[in-house]
Each structure stands twice: as structure tokens, then as C-alpha cells.
């Protein structure tokens, strides 16, 4: 059967077809849909959202050592979080086949950095496969499992955004029957990585790498496509598609396995062409290794190290084809349309108050990263999941009394559970007095509303214990725990002001769920009374896309208005009222 699947959907399908029985992940663009689609196969595959990528990895390792075929998926920066178990997993090896999906994001469409996770394969000394469309994404799950079990190694399946989120035609097959494991096969010399054992296992890792090099020479996922021999291109992943499009006559060495490299095959290809290019997004990962083989190859001297590629970049840089563009717009400047906090977003009121109080705000990863955009512009840092908590404490250590009462950290519910808790323990343990605001919107918002331990539901949609954030923060030693309604600006301002001035640490938790998951009743919408509006512009400062200026008055688009009432509270002329409360109705 032929169907259109995204790379992520195809990986989920591959997990089904190739007998995987445990799959774990923490959501992260562009990897999220792998587990979201894995749920379709929940009768055959146990699947879960873990609290973070490290736990997801550890559950998958346990499943593998227990004898099951397992898969763990994450975005590129997620592998940083999971890198500790990952790097030692290389030493323990596997029992059931284990696939680790790293979805990289060249171009940073939805990420804080552009790291090239191919380096992880080299650092961990594990095999790496890179599919270039959805069919390969599915097929490579099967190949990865086979390599994993034959070579006793975890396998890194590395995708990029344009593979993860591109739909291409895929042929489906049935699920392989893999017998369920019946007992844990003990192998402490292999699984218990105390130094004496680890020293022996490092030898096994190096020997394994040699055998994998031989495999790379023989596998048909590394293949030469001979065409015109004047120009040859070594490439992999999505770049293969751009090269085929831009240079239809070039000979290509397509590498499906990009670590370890097939040196003899590369040498044979290099000897067969006059000019040799390597086309790879981000770092010169292939290029440097090929050059180290003593082979002359052109890569980053012609092609960018930044951002993602497309066929036009290849045409321009390697085939000298430039296109002429006309200036259709003339002098017209197009207003930008960046993503914004939704109308009714519970984060809006908090950021409005943080800006009003002129506080330094240590931010985190989530929808609230959008608090950096004007007019709210109330964010001073975003580094990684969980960082806001420790960074708030650190800035206080640096500035001491100079920043007392002038700084807060903000973090989401899912992010706090992911890795904010440990930062909070640090603040309590080391006698800090930071104020942390947990923007608890009861979902993992930015990645598209995934459940987490705070929502009381699992990935499979079952009810489960709902983690109580208040009890958690009390348990780590926070005495000042306040819950606020972020739609109530007066209360929000009062509580934040009180807590930042205390000599003890505080946690403030907001109590409104994401506006996109709670259906709002219609009578709550707001409207501007044009007779009272003085066009002062205060309501524009809450940064709500439902509010716009027309005929020198503020207006509210009632289709978009979610009825939060934040704008009505900032209006000094009482011109914004609930629909129904207007005088002339």
C-alpha cells in the first residue's frame, strides 16, 4: 500500500513493522510526531512521554537490556540531556535492538542552537544512519535494528527538519513477529560499568568500530550512482535530494551510513571523478574525515556552514547558476509576522506585569520564549530546558544586594518537571532567596500540547497520577508557595512584588491552562466602546493579536478574542468591556 508519510510518521511506522515493543521520548521539534504517531500502534508498542530525554533514554536502555527492541526519540538538544547514558550505552551494548533518533534542526526553525549531532556518533563510537526521505526513514529503522543486534551497538538514526517534516510516498509492510523476551539475561561484565569492566568494554567498542567500517563498505545503503564523471558529489540525508535536483548529471556517492565511513568506497568514487565535492549541511563532518584519508575534496570552501540548504544554494555555489530577481515591492516594507502569544494566553498577564515592574527575567524553553517579542519584551535570557532556575540564582550571586527584588526566573510546568526541579533544590540547599514563577498551563505547549506528569494523562490517553507542583516545591523546601490567576493583573502584581522582596526563596504558580486546550464560552468576549476610547495605546502594550487600531480607535476582533480580560484591566478609561455589558446593547 502506498501512503504519504512524514519522516516522523515513517519512523513510527518502521518501529511497528520491525517489531519494536518499547518507544520513549520527550517532545521536541522536529521530533515530536514520532511518538505522537507511535500511539497508533499502542496495541503492539508500549509508548510514553518521559519527563526528560535522559529518562527516556534510560527506559529504552532498560527495555533493550531486557531483550525488547526499543526506540527513543528526541530533538538535537535533547541528546545533550541524554548524552550521559548514551555515551556509556556505547560500552554496554544492547540486547534487543536499540535505535536512538536525533532530529536536528538546521536553520533553527524551532530551536535555540544549530548543533550538528553527527558528532555524537563519532564521540560515542556508534553507527549512524541518515535517511533522505520517508521511505528510507522507515526502512532504516529496520536496518538500524539489524545493525544494533548484529554488532551489539545502539544505532543513531539522525534526521533533520526537512526529513522529519516532509511527507513523501511510502510503501507499507506488515509487522515482523519478534518473540517476546522471557527473562533478564544477566551479563554484569558487560552491563556494570565499573572501571575494571569499562576498560574491557572500551576494547570491545574499538573492535566493534573496525567491524562496522567493514560493514559500511558492503551495505547497499551506501551506493554510487554513476553519471557524468566530470563532477562527483558525496552526500547524505536531505542534501542528496537537493543535489539530484540541482545537478542532475553529476555522479553521486550517497551515504546512508555516515559513521563510520566506508573509506574504500569513498576512495573508489574519488578516483572515478574529475572534481569531487562533499555536500553536507552544518559542520564539515564528512569533509574533514575524507580529507584525513588524504582525498582532495571541496566542501565548506564553497558551501555554507550555516543554516539549511536547498537546491538553489547548490545550483548557485556548485553549478554557477544564478537567478535574476525583480524588485516587485519597490519601496514597500512588509510588516513581519512572527509567532506571538495567542489571544487569551495565560502567560500574557505575567509578562505584562514583569515588564511593568522592570524586572530582570531569566527565561526558559517554551511558548513563553515569545515573551521576548515587543511590545511585552520582558525576557533577558533563554538558554536551555530548566536553565532559568539556576541562572536566576547565579545572577543573584553575582549582583548580590544590587539585584535584590529586581529579578525572577520563569519556567513552564513541563520544563520545570524536565529539569527545573534540580535547580530549585540548589537554591534551597544553598540558601538562596530567588523567586521562580512556574507558568503552569497544564500542557507542553510549544510542541503542540503533549501530556506530561502534571496533566494527569499519559501519551496513550490513560488517566494517571497528576503530579502536584505545589507539593513538589514544598517538598524540596520552598516555604513561600503562592498560586495566582494570571488573568488578574492586580493580584499578579501584588504577589510578585511581595515575593521578590522576601529573604527566602519563593515559587509562584499560575493556575490557568493553555487557552488552546480549554474551550472558552462565548459570553466572555470583550469589545471596545468607541465613545470612551481615547486611543492612548495602553491596550496595544499587552501584545494581543486580537487588538488592532482602526479609525484612530482600538478595536477587538471578536473571532480571535478569548475573553481573558487583560486588556480591559490596563485600559484607564474603562473603554474595554465584556460584550453584553455595553451601555448601548
Amino acid at each position: 500500500m502506498r501512503v504519504l508519510l512524514s519522516g516522523n510518521e515513517a519512523i513510527a511506522r518502521g518501529a511497528y513493522e520491525y517489531g519494536i515493543s518499547v518507544a520513549t521520548a520527550y517532545p521536541g521539534t522536529p521530533s515530536t510526531e514520532i511518538l505522537e504517531n507511535m500511539v497508533n500502534y499502542k496495541d503492539n508498542i508500549y509508548c510514553e512521554w518521559a519527563p526528560n530525554e535522559k529518562v527516556a533514554m534510560e527506559v529504552a536502555i532498560g527495555a533493550s537490556l531486557g531483550g525488547a527492541r526499543a526506540l527513543v526519540a528526541m530533538k538535537h538538544v535533547g541528546l545533550n540531556v541524554a548524552s550521559d547514558p548514551f555515551l556509556t550505552l556505547s560500552y554496554t551494548g544492547v540486547k534487543g535492538g536499540l535505535v536512538i533518533v536525533s532530529a536536528d534542526d538546521p536553520g533553527m526553525h524551532s530551536s535555540q542552537n544549530e548543533q550538528d549531532n553527527r558528532h555524537y556518533a563519532r564521540m560515542a563510537k556508534v553507527p549512524m544512519l541518515e535517511p533522505s526521505d520517508s521511505q528510507e526513514a522507515k526502512d532504516y529503522v529496520g536496518i538500524a535494528l539489524e545493525i544494533s543486534e548484529v554488532f551489539d551497538a545502539p544505532v543513531l538514526l539522525r534526521t533533520t527538519t526537512r526529513v522529519s517534516h516532509t511527507k513523501t510516498v511510502v510503501r507499507l509492510s506488515e509487522r515482523e513477529k519478534i518473540p517476546a523476551p522471557s527473562e533478564f539475561e544477566r551479563a554484569p561484565g558487560k552491563y556494570v560499568m565499573v572501571p575494571a569492566n569499562a576498560r574491557m568494554r572500551h576494547i570491545a567498542v574499538e573492535e566493534r568500530l573496525e567491524r562496522l567500517r567493514q560493514y559500511a563498505e558492503e551495505t547497499d545503503i551506501n551506493r554510487i550512482e554513476w553519471r557524468d564523471k566530470k563532477v562527483g558529489v558525496i552526500t547524505s540525508g536531505i542534501s542528496y535530494q537537493y543535489v539530484r535536483e540541482a545537478m542532475p548529471d553529476a555522479s553521486i556517492l550517497k551515504l546512508g551510513m555516515t559513521y563510520p565511513l566506508a573509506e574504500n568506497l569513498i576512495r573508489k568514487f574519488a578516483n572515478g571523478v574529475e572534481t569531487l565535492y562533499v555536500v553536507e549541511e552544518l559542520d564539515p563532518f564528512l569533509e574533514e574525515q575524507i580529507k584525513a584519508m588524504g582525498i582532495n575534496v571541496i566542501g565548506k570552501e564553497k558551501l555554507p556552514i550555516l543554516y539549511e540548504f536547498d537546491q538553489s544554494i547548490i545550483r548557485e555555489k556548485l553549478a554557477d547558476e544564478k537567478i535574476e530577481l525583480k524588485n516587485f515591492l519597490g519601496e514597500t516594507q512588509l510588516p513581519p509576522r512572527p509567532p506571538v502569544l495567542c489571544p487569551g494566553c495565560p502567560h500574557r498577564g505575567v509578562f505584562y506585569i514583569l515588564k511593568k515592574l522592570k524586572l530582570v527575567v531569566m527565561g526558559d524553553i517554551g511558548c513563553y520564549s515569545l515573551g521576548v517579542a515587543p511590545p511585552l519584551a520582558a525576557l533577558d535570557s533563554t538558554v536551555c530546558m530548566g536553565a532559568s532556575v539556576g541562572m536566576t540564582f547565579g545572577a543573584e550571586l553575582a549582583l548580590k544586594e544590587n539585584i535584590k527584588g529586581k529579578i525572577v526566573g520563569v519556567i513552564g510546568d513541563s520544563t520545570f518537571i524536565h529539569s527545573g526541579i534540580t535547580g530549585l533544590i540548589d537554591i534551597v540547599y544553598n540558601k538562596g532567596a530567588s523567586t521562580i514563577i512556574i507558568l503552569d498551563n497544564r500542557t507542553t505547549g510549544m510542541t503542540g500540547h503533549q501530556d506530561n506528569p502534571g496533566t494527569g494523562r499519559t501519551l496513550k490517553g490513560e488517566r494517571t497520577h497528576q503530579l502536584d507542583l505545589k507539593e513538589v516545591v514544598r517538598a524540596v523546601g520552598i516555604k513561600n508557595v503562592r498560586v495566582i490567576d494570571p488573568y488578574n493583573l492586580e493580584e499578579t502584581e501584588k504577589v510578585i512584588t511581595e515575593e521578590i522582596n522576601k529573604d527566602e526563596p519563593s515559587v509562584i504558580i499560575t493556575n490557568r491552562p493553555c487557552v488552546l486546550i480549554v474551550k472558552d464560552e462565548k459570553q466572555n468576549k470583550y469589545r471596545v466602546d468607541a465613545k470612551l476610547c481615547k486611543n492612548c495605546g495602553m491596550c496595544y502594550m499587552v501584545g494581543c493579536s486580537a487588538i488592532y487600531r482602526e479609525d484612530n480607535k482600538a478595536n477587538i476582533d471578536e473571532i480571535f478574542c478569548a475573553g481573558c480580560g487583560v486588556c480591559a484591566q490596563v485600559c484607564r478609561f474603562n473603554a474595554i468591556k465584556k460584550v453584553g455589558d455595553m451601555d448601548d446593547q
Binding site: 513523501t168 514597500t332 513581519p336 496595544y540
Partner: protein
């Protein structure tokens, strides 16, 4: 080159249904027996920002992306968003445009002006096909049907039979909205035929 690839860009604002529209298009092209690729960015784009989805189909498609001067058709859900992608249209390309404005935040707060979109489009090409999507959606009784009405408008420029479109819509929309969506599709298609 015998391998003719059709490249269609679908653009708009997060929440307008751009992705479903391009899904319908892909499904139809696949049922025609073509190789199909569709690419877009998920994640932050769903928060009211600009959205673009690229659809390419033909005998064999390599790159999923449409780069400058490659789009045969630009299907735009919002006036201003059309202007961001003018460089991507082929010199002989067509623009199918929804006659709807969604004012971006910058303009809403008085920084920047909403441009004179049709004035600029007149300078680009005479192949501009305008449809009042919200009007059709209102007539069929569901504001969310704008996207399907626009696919209907797009459909007269493509070599895909009506019967196939009907099957694709049946397979992709919730059963209770099928009648509304089919009606919106047919209205979009019919109105586009009349100059």
C-alpha cells in the same frame, strides 16, 4: 527534461488551515499516481505567525522545497502573506489569493502599514485569481471552511478530476462537516470559473 514537476506554495497565517489545504492537494496528487513531496515547518509557526507549505508532484520529485522562481502556483490564504513569496513564483506562474486581511501585530500597534496588496500584484502578473473565502465560508455556515473553498479555487488550475477531489475530501474531513466542506469546495471552484 521530460520529468515535469508541479510546484505549488500554500501560504497564510497560523490557524487558517494552510496545512489541511496542502494535505488535500497532496492526497489528490498521490491518487493521480504521481510522486509527491510536501514540506513545512511545525512548531513555532502555529502561534499566529507566517506559515508556508510546499507541495511538489510529478513523475519523480527530488527536493521537497520550492526555491525562488520555481512555483507554478502560489495559493495564498491572506493578502499580505502573498507578498512575502513573490520571488518564488515563476515568471509565468499564477496567484490564487484569498481576499482576506489579517492585520499583523506590528501594524495593529501602529508600527508599519498594511500594504496595498492588489496594487503591487498588478505589477507582478495578470494571472491573479481572487476569491472571497470568508464570504463563502459564511454562506456555507462554517468559518473554518475557508481552506477547502480555496482548494476548490485552486482545483480549476490543476489536472485533477472533480470526482477524485470529492473522494479526497471525504477521506480527510470529519464526517459531520463533509457536506459543508464539499459545498465550500464546489463554490470555490465555481466562483473561480466565472471571471
Amino acid at each position: 527534461m521530460t520529468n515535469k514537476v508541479m510546484s505549488i506554495m500554500v501560504v497564510g497565517v497560523g490557524g487558517q488551515g494552510v496545512i489541511l489545504a496542502s494535505e488535500l492537494l497532496c492526497e489528490a496528487a498521490m491518487r493521480m499516481g504521481y510522486d509527491v513531496k510536501k514540506s513545512e515547518i511545525h512548531g513555532m509557526a502555529q502561534r499566529g505567525g507566517s506559515v508556508v507549505s510546499s507541495v511538489r508532484y510529478g513523475e519523480k520529485v527530488y527536493s521537497p522545497l520550492i526555491t525562488k522562481r520555481e512555483a507554478d502556483i502560489l495559493l495564498s490564504f491572506e493578502q499580505l502573506e502573498t507578498l512575502r513569496w513573490l520571488d518564488y513564483i515563476k515568471p509565468e506562474g499564477k496567484i490564487v489569493i484569498n481576499d482576506q486581511r489579517i492585520v499583523p501585530m506590528a501594524v495593529a500597534v501602529g508600527q508599519g502599514e498594511y500594504p496595498d496588496v492588489f496594487g503591487i500584484l498588478n505589477r507582478v502578473t495578470d494571472k491573479v485569481y481572487k476569491l472571497n473565502g470568508p464570504d463563502i465560508a459564511q454562506q456555507v455556515g462554517d468559518i473554518r471552511a475557508v481552506n477547502v473553498a480555496l482548494v476548490g479555487a485552486l482545483s480549476i488550475h490543476l489536472d485533477i478530476p472533480m470526482e477524485l477531489w470529492r473522494k479526497v475530501i471525504e477521506s480527510r474531513v470529519p464526517p459531520e462537516t463533509l457536506d459543508i466542506n464539499l459545498k465550500a469546495f464546489e463554490m470555490g471552484r465555481t466562483l473561480m470559473k466565472v471571471p
